[in-house]
């Protein structure tokens, strides 16, 4: 099961994700967590992907859905440290062109 732990750093909600983002499991957790944040008016979201092992197409689709929902609310979703398989998938799907992506947390936080 994917885990998502929330840290609020200034105006930015950082979700430390770990595990895999896959159909019926991780994608649901991600959707619920981001919904919660947006409902609470927190629309500056940084997803820490460092400990995400992989995603399937449903998980990737949910990532995009979260991005779009945050944008609708005037916020955004950015990505921290996608690596290994996750990085490959962002490249393959060209989502690296959609998501602002950072290697360093400080830099990511400053970007909001």
């Amino acid at each position: 099961m994917m885990k998502a732990l929330l840290r609020q750093v200034g105006t930015v909600a950082v979700l430390d994700l770990s595990g895999k983002i896959t159909i019926g499991e991780g994608d649901v957790v991600l959707r619920d967590k981001v919904h919660e944040l947006l409902d609470a008016g927190k629309n500056q979201i940084l997803l820490n992907m460092d400990k995400v092992t992989y995603m399937d197409s449903a998980g990737i689709g949910e990532l995009v859905a979260c991005y779009k929902r945050a944008r609708e609310k005037g916020g955004t979703v950015r990505l921290l440290k996608p690596s290994g398989k996750v990085y490959d998938l962002l490249q393959l799907t060209k989502l690296e062109e959609v998501f602002d992506t950072f290697r360093e947390e400080q830099e990511a936080l400053k970007s909001f």
Binding site: T22, I23, G24, E25, Y54, D56, S57, A58, I60, G61, E62, V64, A65, Y67, K68, K85, D88, L89, Q91, L92, T93, K94, L95, E97, V98
Partner: protein
């Protein structure tokens, strides 16, 4: 692909069973000697083909089954996924990597499948359903060219 150890799984169209088949595909990849990355890639491709068979082929009707046959041989792993649906034209799906398509929340399964295995075949079995065959072969030993298996299908970076 030559005859090998063939494991057949028949499951109802329930998404909660995808994980189970993924695990079997990964374990068989290990048995045929694919390395961990290739094993995960093969399993991810099987996973996507299975999700499509469940969701699109069988419209998530648990009364309809999906048959997954995994053949482990000296060459690698072959997977056949057969549903009970009306089939589709795999050439007619939009490219999810261009323009606004990148912002769609679905439509990336075939891209992943093609990226993660060495060969994919689509065939409609009259009176039966769609058959998707995936072939993952052993990589040539490291060193000579370092070919990452999905490279051929990753189009050049075009900028934003």
């Amino acid at each position: 692909m030559a005859a090998g150890t063939s494991v057949k799984l028949v499951i109802p169209s329930e998404v909660r069973l995808v994980e189970l088949v993924h695990t079997v595909a990964e374990k068989l990849s290990e048995i045929v000697g694919l390395d961990q990355e290739d094993g995960l890639n093969a399993a991810l491709a099987v996973r996507e083909a299975l999700i499509n068979a469940i969701v699109h082929g069988n419209r998530s009707d648990p009364a309809l089954d999906v048959e997954v046959t995994l053949v482990a041989s000296a060459e690698g792993l072959e997977a056949r996924v057969v549903d009970r649906g009306r089939g589709f034209d795999p050439g007619a799906t939009p490219d999810p990597t261009v323009g606004e398509n990148r912002l769609r929340t679905s439509g990336r399964g075939l891209l992943l499948i093609r990226a993660f295995v060495d060969d994919v075949k689509f065939r409609y079995l009259e009176g039966r359903g769609m058959e998707v065959t995936l072939i993952k072969t052993h990589r040539p030993p490291r060193g000579a060219g370092e070919d990452r298996s999905y490279e051929p299908v990753v189009p050049r970076r075009t900028g934003r």
